[in-house]
Symmetry: C2
């Protein structure tokens, strides 16, 4: 398979699909809409998981595990919730196969039909709140701060690797609180964690905001979100944190005895990020040569490639490289020494470029003589020769620089792609030429929101949390408005 990717300018979507497969991140499986996450892609996901898990635990959350299956009757208990998920769910109806009577193989055994169908969880609010009823008695049991890492299934018709798949991996937090205020604080705390993770680890700037009613999670009172901007000018929702009010507590009758001895319904939040973040990561930084990974999430931060004509040279170079590997590892830097003789250096250079390894070191016979090595940055493609003695300091410093540079670059791109408009003509013009976020006044009605979506394919990505209040007129209807919202075409 050729390593050459379609150029982003030519066909961004094709570039993305090729990159995901060629960089060994993921591929489609034989099961419609379900992906295989390949080892290299999974290693990045593991780094994301480890960091998020740490952040959740540092803020008092614990992990647990709830069933994959949700009885149909549970899903139905919260009216908005079932409306949101019933149309795209995998339904288990039988629990056994048997040999076909005509000998043609195995078939579903009609006698093994379930009394009640089971839904493969699209999200776990219902099964979890059914459990919380047993766990929560009094205010002493609150807050209950639980997270689960799991697979979920939503039967999407049009799927794309990482961005929209029938099965995906995610974490889902589900918390229970004694007061409305505490639940809202929790939803906001998690939004901050998601924002910090996106910006400090993924090097992806995000806008924090609230969703409009029509974009809210099915069953939520308020949905907070972080929104990123991809290189093609389309927005991507990277994480959501929901204030659920007492909706699920009421649907599943979860009450607690307050300090004052009163029985009250519990307040709830839920929140999640998924393997979709992999798509966001790819589309924030990568280029026509392949993946570009921020050092904080790169499974391999430094690759070292020997350049040699014969075994004798390789031995001498390897000895020096092994020393460097050891020194770098002692600083917790993840290093790969690729000493395979089955592949040429040029092939390896292209391979690690494609895979987004932040730093590449090459060492040849002349370097050995001179005490130097060549080091190349994946983000800027700059190469330079440095002294072997300085390698550890240089690598440490440069990894930090790359992390910052990727963020700054993405931040500047994002900032230059938030355009305030006053008229619907401007709105359409910006959307169809430059893309990005269009900041516009909106009259606050779902009708206008729908109409704009119908006319332009843009949706309201969020009402930014730090919005300033200003007088204005709705970009479509001209009605009064007090703040701008961010529109964009989105993944």
């Amino acid at each position: 398979m050729s390593k050459n990717l379609t150029k982003r300018e030519t066909d961004y979507s094709k570039w993305y699909n090729e990159l995901v497969v060629k960089a060994d991140l993921a591929e489609n499986s034989g099961v419609r809409g379900c992906m295989v996450i390949k080892p290299y892609g999974f290693a990045i996901w593991e780094k994301m998981q480890a960091q998020l898990d740490k952040m959740f635990k540092e803020t008092g959350h614990e992990n647990a595990y709830f069933p994959l299956f949700i009885p149909k009757s549970y899903l139905s208990k919260e009216a908005d919730h079932v409306k949101g998920f019933a149309k795209e769910c995998a339904v288990v109806t039988h629990y056994r196969l048997k040999n076909a009577e005509d000998g043609s193989g195995v078939v579903v055994d009609p006698e093994a039909k379930l009394e009640e169908e089971l839904i493969v969880r699209p999200t776990s609010e219902t099964i979890i709140w059914d459990t919380y009823r047993k766990w929560i008695e009094s205010y002493r049991d609150l807050p209950l701060l639980i997270n689960q890492w799991a697979n979920v299934v939503r039967w999407e018709m049009r799927t794309r690797l990482f961005l929209r798949t029938a099965e995906f991996l995610w974490q889902e937090g589900h918390t229970a609180h004694a007061t409305e205020k505490e639940a809202i604080q929790e939803a906001e705390l998690i939004l901050d964690i998601y924002g910090d993770f996106a910006e400090k680890f993924m090097a992806m700037p995000v806008i924090k905001g609230l969703k409009t009613a029509s974009e809210r999670f099915a069953g939520a009172i308020e949905t907070y979100c972080i929104e990123g901007l991809m290189q093609d000018g389309k927005a991507l929702q990277a994480g959501t944190s929901h204030f659920l009010g007492q909706n699920f507590a009421k649907a599943f009758d979860v009450q607690f005895t307050s300090k004052e001895g009163k029985r009250e319904h519990v307040w709830a939040t839920s929140w999640g990020v998924s393997t979709r973040l992999m798509g966001a990561l790819i589309m924030t930084h990568s280029d026509d040569l392949g993946l570009v990974l921020p050092p904080n999430l790169a499974p391999i931060q430094v690759v070292i490639i020997p350049i040699h004509r014969n075994d004798e040279q390789l031995d001498a170079i390897s000895e020096k490289i092994n020393q460097i590997v050891k020194e770098l590892r002692s600083k917790n830097i993840s290093v790969k020494f690729d000493n395979r003789t089955t592949h040429k250096p040029g092939w390896k250079f292209a391979e690690y470029e494609l895979k987004g390894v932040p730093l590449r070191i090459a060492m040849g016979p002349r370097d050995l003589e001179n005490g130097t090595l060549e080091i190349a940055r994946r983000d800027t493609l700059e190469k330079q020769s440095i002294s072997q003695e300085n390698v550890v300091d240089f690598v440490e410093k440069t990894l930090k620089e790359i992390q910052e540079n990727l963020f700054t670059k993405a931040y500047n791109y994002r900032e230059s792609h938030i355009i305030e408009v006053e008229t619907f003509e401007e709105f359409k013009h910006i959307l169809n030429t430059k893309g990005g976020f269009v900041s516009a006044h909106w009259d606050g009605t779902a009708e206008t929101e729908d109409k704009i979506k119908e006319l332009t394919k843009a949706t309201i990505r969020c009402i930014p949390l730090n919005n300033k209040i200003e007088e204005g007129k709705c970009v479509l209807t001209g009605k009064k408005s007090t703040q701008r919202v961010l529109f964009a075409k989105a993944y």
Copy 2:
């Protein structure tokens, strides 16, 4: 809920069920056969995962993720495999619900029937080997050493928390090799990893052996296993590693070009351990007061409980305890300081005994005066007063001792429960009185194995790997035999 458990002697099975729930490890959910793993139980599972994952990675394995669903036709491709799993699998037949016409809620939408049914994975050989066909071209792509952490579903009719549940969590390794020899070496390497993990982390002695043909994994040529012995004299299969020969490579047409340029089928292994290990851990060490955890897997290794009559005393004691907590944590010891005033010290003592925390430290006003503290071991229930100055050394040393003591105790129990018998009368007598492993000659036929199972409920747990060859006569038929095998009643 009372903390008192049924005594093991009275009803071992009831003791187990109560302990799992009361120690906050797991509980049954509203979904038949599916459990909820509670935060405390999940924290132990996370420690198991982290250690196993480290051991897999150190031996060159990488993690990946494959789809939850397996098309029915895939499952059918390997004849023995489908025979083994078809009778107990969850089948997805539809992908949508809709509102019932009579307004009675949501029902399965008959128009959303899948063309081909999907099986919720009971194990992933078929979907993985379908993928490996695309990944393996030449000997350069081998070995392929992949593991996945996942949930699987087997529709068991009689379920028990951790030991046998419809859904469970596990890891499944799937490797591909160029030669038969390498594949067998891999299966044996993994068996060693499982054995080391069981003995060094779970403090559970295990016997390594081979399964007989009738106990083999469906589709395997050879199944290696580790078998533990529970306190009630029943054996428990704690992990299996399968040499699959070329069965799956042939079923899914996975061939590679050898160094010599020949096309050959790939050799395979698969291997797994599951949340069943939690059951094994509980039944190896725990007692009538509750859980007993080996320090290497305990989420909380040391709990510290202040004893005080008023706030002033609590403040003074807390100041000292906070110092100790800090010192212990700097040595990577996991400590909990339970300073809740909502619960009395006596309640806390019982609580952490029930939860198996290896060491409990109590500190009261007199300790504060004298510079002492009281420290209690969960394994021996011994208490002693030590000087505060020695606490870090004492804790470090004692945690090691507890780990060793638990292993030794379980080892001695196991060793005294491997009984060689020569006659079938002895066989039955030992099995029905003492329990444990009965070491007996067997004529090597499935008929005899079945007959013995029918007569005694004992199965051949394994043919130990380190077996000595000796002349003997089958305990049932009197036919010639060259080695003993281990029989036991089993979980």
